[in-house]
Assembly symmetry: C2
Homo-oligomer: 116 residues x 2
């Protein structure tokens, strides 16, 4: 995880949810319910499956998501926000709102998975 020499709580939070992909993964799981690995991969075309797998494993190790693996062939694995992960919702909301404010109107995207 991100180094944190001064043991700053904000840096710690960045370590848990920062980076290029973790916010997107978390937002995909925000609406609740289990989501399959393959569905996440389809929803995020630009992330490689290796990185997706790696990020999911880190989120699971950090206790933010739960992983359900069914012993079937072909395999089926589902992910879901944990109780601890749900406490992130107001944090993600604050970061999301601020990021919207800072968005260049000319480059404005339509990507808005936080719908409610």
């Amino acid at each position: 995880m991100l180094q944190n020499p001064e043991n700053c709580a904000v840096v710690r939070t960045v370590g848990y949810i920062g980076g290029k992909w973790k916010p997107i993964i978390l937002i995909r799981l925000l609406n609740g319910g289990k989501v399959r690995f393959g569905k996440l991969a389809v929803q995020m075309p630009d992330i490689s499956r290796k990185i997706l797998s790696q990020q999911l494993k880190e989120l699971e190790e950090d206790g933010l998501i739960l992983r359900y693996s069914y012993m079937e062939k072909p395999p089926r694995v589902e992910y879901e926000l944990s109780e601890s992960g749900k406490t992130l919702i107001p944090v993600l909301k604050a970061m999301y709102d601020w990021g919207i404010q800072m968005e260049d109107p000319a480059t404005r995207g339509t990507w808005d998975p936080i719908v409610k």
Copy 2:
């Protein structure tokens, strides 16, 4: 800055304030007023002056802080949160509170520049 292929607002926010040092710098400037470069350097013993300088420049280029350079020798430079930077306060607060929740009690630090 951090790549953001899906143009996600949360990732954008991480790009502005993420990393190992930016949260700490911003928190140091939260209480308002101008702070000299050297004072920041003393308050953050583990950051090299080169990196501190670089991070301050990025924050300034992003419009989050203001830089006042007085033409004196030896030089004097002061930094201050901009109006745009002040809009970060609720975001940092949310991230700070969450980070405190996640802190391992055994490793609990005493570092708490958000005093009020």
